[in-house]
Amino acid sequence: MDLENQKRVKEFTEEYGPENIVVLLGAAEGEASGLAAETVTAGDPTFAGPLTGVSLGLKVYHICEPEIKELIDEAVYDEQVSMMEMVLDVDDIVSEMTAIRDEFCKY
C-alpha cells in the first residue's frame, strides 16, 4: 500500500479509535485485496511503510463483498460498481479477504 495512504490510516486510527473505523478496498483482484487488508490489520507485509510492525486490526472489506453490498443503496451500487463486479473475480476476493479478517481483525 502507498506510503502516504498507510500514514493516513495510522493517523485516523489514532484520532478516531480503531473500533470506529472501517476500511473499504477497491483492489482489482484477490491477492492485492489480501495484501491491502493485511496492511491495515497485521501490518505492512512489505516492510516499507508507517504500518510496518503496527497491528491495527481494523475492520476491512472489499466493496464487492456481499455483507457490504447489501448495506449500500441498490441504485448507487448499480451505478458505481455493478459493471466492474462483472469484470472482477469476486469469489477470489471474498476468500482472500475472509482469510485475512479471520486471522488478524480485532474488532
Partner: protein, 43 residues
C-alpha cells in the same frame, strides 16, 4: 449493528478495480462518514 452506519470509513480504491470516489458514493449511501478516500495505481 450495521457495519457501516455511523462508522468512519477509510477508502483505498484502485484505478484498475473500483476507484475511491465510486466507493465513497456507496459508503455514504449506507450512512457511513467517509474520512479519507484515495485511489492507487500500479501501472
Amino acid at each position: 449493528m450495521s457495519l457501516l452506519e455511523g462508522k468512519k470509513v477509510i477508502i483505498i480504491g484502485d484505478r484498475d478495480g473500483i476507484p475511491g470516489d465510486a466507493i465513497a458514493e456507496c459508503a455514504t449511501s449506507a450512512g457511513a462518514e467517509v474520512i479519507y478516500s484515495s485511489t492507487e495505481c500500479f501501472v
